[in-house]
Symmetry: D2
Subunit: 480 residues, 4 copies
């Protein structure tokens, strides 16, 4: 059971009882709802591809914790090689889904929690790490999908958690009992909350002493009472039933808001509670891990972008145009920079006190900065290469209309030998890749916003030795 | 009647009988269909704002042709000042619609046709120019909305018109009679074809002798028999009925494919027929005019982008963050470059043989190059400033659901004093501005694709004097 | 005499008695010193080209002040057209010198002083404007070269003038007598101080009440007692005698530090003295004027850069390579953006209270932002196109050495028919254009540093109407 | 002796008898000539730093070939780890020299030759590889500095070697005897030719059958008869004796043209002779290795650029300005991208038939593309942060002049407590870092020109699987 099948995963979802709303209505079965099933199909690939020979090598690995083979998404980063393999696994999966499969945030949160609970215990004499590793064994043995709740709704962004006019703008502890704690607040943009078995909830920023109630980390099942998942709309969601026009025919993405309306968490699932000085470290470490993940997954999607550009140039009849080649090079360059910096962040990883490896933060954030800015240009280049038909291509229904269908087909023909339907499908995929809000906004804001990456990059760069290199060459005396 | 009201325009549409299909179904009334009415409302602003004092100055001008005041969209460019005013008029209208109002292509095509028919007549002794000016009087007197049909479907893009396996990949003459000509083919991305009274159809590329049948220009009513408008899908079309979630609450855009299924055109409406060496000039001139137009309209939309960024920063509680200010500067810089180069292209305009003024092509294409590339970064900056809620914000229906509405409202609160609905509306507008395919793809491919702008820029730059400047400074002898 | 000849200008310099140091030695005759004569030759072009038919149209204009034709460099901006012509004049001159000719700062300072003295008088009842116009008549009648002293040395840049530990870090009044004032301090990067007849000195930043002594503007002859010009080194200065290796064979540039060591200024030449609230306006207006100037002159140099790139491609044998064409387009695009925005800033000019026209600050600063950033990429593209020989090309002396000269000539051959000497000359010109510190640093920091341009751009953009455009489209109620 | 000392290296140079010309004059002793000694001091660091504990770890490694510890610059890449260590060694050395130390080209050429001679032998039954490994033992045992001669002068760049009007535009075999071959031609931009003991000469491009004489690889001592080194000028060379004004006080760079005027090479030093189909592979492999090297060394110089920017901000009094922090982030981002992609190219290395490891070409070229373009922006940012004093700062001699020295010192003061001399030194270093042609042109053209990197990137990217990823997601059938 430590490596589940896709069917076991589907069954586990059907056995759960999440409270979820979509466009104002309560949802019965997320595995079949047209607006959610594409995402669940994406997550299911993390199980299904363990049967693929290449996938198995990347997705399945031995866990020292359980002594068994487990799904890598539930595993600790025990070496630089593990981090390298993670990047390659995510690239592999994204090449095959063209979007998100929702398990990286959980994996990254698991590792960040493993590192920081160890440090909390060392300072405060608590036993969070032990509790957490017990929890992790449970996750590994059952190959659970874990969603990581980090981003709070934040209210007025200029105010700290405890300074907000409504104290619930960040998730916080509102009660403590002998059995556990009660939390309130809301997390937003929750990748995978509605296709997960479990949630691992972390603070979303550094905290000061008077924010102590907000310094809370814990795990709960995704259908815990009081937790409400609210679907958020995406630009292309309305195409979910429409064949060719769907773009990505199997997979999709969305990220709910999750409201914690007085949710109870038992003590054995509480991994931080008031140790405010560790809120910053855990979210920053999560952030670095997750930016490192993006270097893999967005590179995989990048391969799809590049492939779609090359394919549509072929379908349009101009596969060899020199300006198209130049644009392909520009696309490849950025995608490789993201990938290269993530690989390098793995190589330059260091071991934490807990034994878990931490990526090089400067390189991981560098990778993410390219995703947040230059990757948007990669998408523009895709649209540039594809041509105007990315917008305003007639629908599949026009193609099927007996009166105009033959005319539509006649006039949408491209290069000789390319079926019109294939060309339309490729344009629809490109529309999806370039204009689906969830993917594009995630490029920019996923794993923290660009300004956060920039501040992290600067804080984690030691400028002093660099100044001394300059002073030495200039013939200026200085003290090391 | 030479300056119509919005109501007169609506009535004229209701009196027409276009053949149009939307998502596989024939349309009855485009003025009320949810997928088309937003665009018509945009066009109607070009009439309605003639009542606005500021708008009137820009939109209404005297025509030497008719001796009356006419709507500027039907008028010839009689001076550099006319070209300057055009840019400002388009900026003004876009600030108020946030999208396209569909009459620039007609205006630009009218002027290109006026210039080139004069030159054809001078060479071939034809009388196209006189016929065309008669037609233009009719347009001016009735303040007609003219759509310009330029972009052919093109089939295999590596092949010339006459070399395609299907001869209909470019619009061409298939028959000539004493009364007129019969044309076949299809034009794609036809801004405004389905909200126009008339169409002015031009070739889309230079032609060679064996492409003579494709060198054809003509005008016809937009509901002429045999002409079929097929709606093309956009990323956010499905929101057309949804209040807050609509984004831009009044206005919208789409660009049909228009099929010419053996359409008859009487001789008095034919303005080029076989003079293949003028196909290039007319489309290039149209192109330069239209890139010049974009410098105005996209700068107006740019003001909306900048305004939305500044407003959402305020709603989020961080109007003064230094990185947000820096991003606003980057946005303004690009938008001003587009605007400045279009103004400059007006100043540097020269008079053609026909008397009509031609913009400076290098400056007009420079403006468009910024729109095609750097403007995409302006949009990214808007999303960057706004934050992750551009994707996955819950729907208006969630807000109205009695069970979760109050919670959704509570948790989507931003800065003190800003109604949640206003914040949601602004995020929805930003979603629309950043992710509506029709607008974004038009930034890149409207008025020709980036590579076309680049080739034009290079062809229209005289490198010889510049080489001589360099030679002279280097002390190299040369002949002027 | 109101339009001098080059010879008259040279003679005027020989009749002056500046105190100047170059590399630690006092200079006797700046018109012949190898490190200064190239610059003076550049300035002399502003006289010599008044004899050129095209040059005359740009350089000579009627002055309402004197009733005579004067050199445009001494004239007020009396209309938008004047500002347009200024841009074109500067472009014309830079195409012919490939560097700076030093008279724009004076022209821009003259105009800024004319505008602001008028406003000071209106508020304070002073008579600065009248005194200034008298002075200007004297300048116009004698066609004097005026250098503008703006940039102070600034000491610790985080401190205001009056807060510096040494009070002389900004030029300030140290004594006032019945005859005039005594000033002390130093200005740095003084374009043209050592080839000017007169200096017009302005404050370099806004001032507060306790900085009143620093709010001082005045004019003095460039050889006034106590004024010391100290030459600053440039990267390629050592080539000044070396024929081919010189790069730009006739013209050069440098910008001294000018020390005011207790310099006396008579009252009739004092145009601001203590009215601290006008220090900001005068320097900002000077800044906008001067950024507007750069849009002309750097576009002229840009034509040389583009011409050199096109010429060297030809000399290398690859004039038609598609990637070189693409790079030329990128070069042209940026140069045209600078030019276009400067032209547009002229068109959008407004009349000040004094009657003098003020450029549109947003457009003028936009132009300069491209110069400060993207223009550096233009230079990189020049080097990219030219190839590695921009560095490490053997010297003219190697070419002339009897033992190796024939071998050097043999192996430096490029395309058939291009003399090796021409190819070497072009490479040397490119080296000069791309690596002369004075030009490149001026691109970035001339007319204020990029951050100053950015702050000005943001301050001078009114965001409120733009926010309202967005609110209106989103359906949000607001008050105008 | 397998790891020499700096003194042994200097002695070896003094014992050689190179034919070299500098500015038209024959050179006696390159170790003392002011224009060459700075470079030799840089090379000497590759010996001296073997005594440094950190340096030793990077610079000294065991060779399987000789069974001894050798200097890594003479060693084969026996693993991915070797390639990683190479990148780090180069970064380490560049941080300490701020420029080039000239031994990478040799190291990269050695490895490329080892790989390709093996493949030639496999195909042609030759014994180049064995001869080459014997030669390499000699290099390793004597720790020789090897310069790699790749770039030919190329004549008309549109013509192949055998199509040039002068057959000597590429180095080629002009005679073969029983003892060896005679070669003629010239190599340009020869990093280190004048501070090397040996030269390893390779073809500079792919060849076709009729270019066979040009497909030649060989090794010779750097003072072989008939070989003439001609110094090429640099922008800041004239400062070589001038203390503070020197910029980089100890180290420098230049790259001669090397003429092969009928040079004899014995057969045991010939490693390719006519096997034209291997000319492309050896130069491409050298190119990938060398772009990989740049990711290390230019990242080390990048650390100096960043350090100089941070230091000068401090000296100017504005170390905490938010726009300066933002610019530092932009600098770090690009430098890290170069470094990260080079590390990643090591990780993704594969073993060649010869056993030597080959870097991942796509990642190595990606790194170089950033150096060739965005790194130029890093340099602009340095100048932007530093301010205008990068140009036109008075000289050390002005500082020492008794009349004006105290005034110059007074007015060049920056932040409290920073000696003026230190501030001047830092500005001079920045001038050197930003404007020394040899370094900047090498960023762009070193290791091949940008277009070469782009073509390599595209050729070495397999687009087919990427197209299939896109097809699969779009629901298009395809054959793998």
């Amino acid at each position: 059971m430590a490596v589940r099948t896709a069917e076991q995963y589907y069954e586990s979802l059907r056995n759960m009882n999440q409270t979820a709303y979509i466009l104002g209505e309560k949802v019965e079965d997320i595995t079949t709802h047209p607006l959610t099933r594409g995402q669940i199909a994406g997550v299911a690939q993390t199980f299904a591809l363990t049967k693929d020979p290449e996938g198995r090598k990347l997705l399945v690995a031995h866990s020292d914790l359980t002594g068994e083979d487990v799904n890598r998404f539930t595993r600790l980063y025990e070496s630089s090689d593990d981090l390298l393999t993670k990047v390659k696994m995510l690239k592999f999966l994204s090449q095959r889904t063209g979007t998100c499969y929702m398990r990286c945030t959980g994996m990254d949160a698991i590792n960040a929690t493993a590192v920081v609970t160890y440090d909390i215990d060392a300072k405060h004499g608590t036993s969070y790490n032990k509790k957490f590793l017990e929890y992790l064994k449970y996750v590994q043995k059952n190959d659970l999908v874990v969603w990581s709740g980090v981003t709070d709704v934040k209210g007025d962004r200029s105010l700290r958690p405890s300074a907000q006019s409504d104290p619930d703008m960040y998730v916080h502890v509102v009660d403590k009992t002998g059995e556990g704690i009660v939390v309130r607040g809301a997390k937003i943009h929750q990748s995978g909350s509605l296709c997960a078995n479990e949630g691992l909830i972390l603070p979303s920023r550094e905290m000061r002493e008077n924010d102590s109630d907000y310094a809370v980390a814990f795990a709960i099942p995704a259908d815990t009472k009081g937790m409400i998942h609210v679907y958020g709309r995406g630009s292309l969601e309305a195409r979910v039933l429409e064949g060719i026009d769907l773009g990505n025919v199997d997979f999709g993405k969305f990220c709910p808001m999750v409201i914690f309306d007085n949710v109870f968490v038992p003590w054995e699932r509480v991994f931080m509670c008031g140790e405010y000085e560790f809120a910053g470290p855990v979210v920053r470490l999560f952030g670095s891990y997750h930016r490192h993940s993006h270097g893999g997954c967005k590179c995989g999607v990048g391969d799809v972008l590049i492939g779609a550009a090359a394919a549509i140039a072929e379908y349009n009849g101009v596969p060899k145009a020199s300006h198209i080649n130049a644009k392909l090079v520009d696309m490849i360059k950025i995608v490789q920079a993201m990938y290269g910096c993530s690989l390098a962040a793995s190589i330059e990883a260091t071991q934490s006190n807990s034994g878990v490896y931490q990526v090089d933060s400067v390189l991981a954030n560098t990778s993410k900065l390219f995703e947040g800015q230059e990757y948007h240009e990669v998408i523009r280049l895709l649209v540039d290469i594809a041509g105007g038909l990315v917008a305003d291509i007639p629908s599949e229904k026009d193609l099927q209309n007996p009166d105009i269908g033959p005319l539509v087909e006649k006039y949408l023909k491209g290069a000789e030998g390319v079926p019109v339907e294939d060309r339309m499908r490729m344009f629809r995929l490109i529309e999806k890749l370039a204009f689906e809000t969830r993917d594009i906004v995630s490029n920019i804001h996923g794993g923290g916003s660009p300004e956060a990456h920039r501040m992290t990059l600067l804080r984690d760069t030691d400028l002093e030795p660099k100044k001394n290199f300059a002073r030495r060459l200039a013939g200026i005396k200085y003290e090391e």
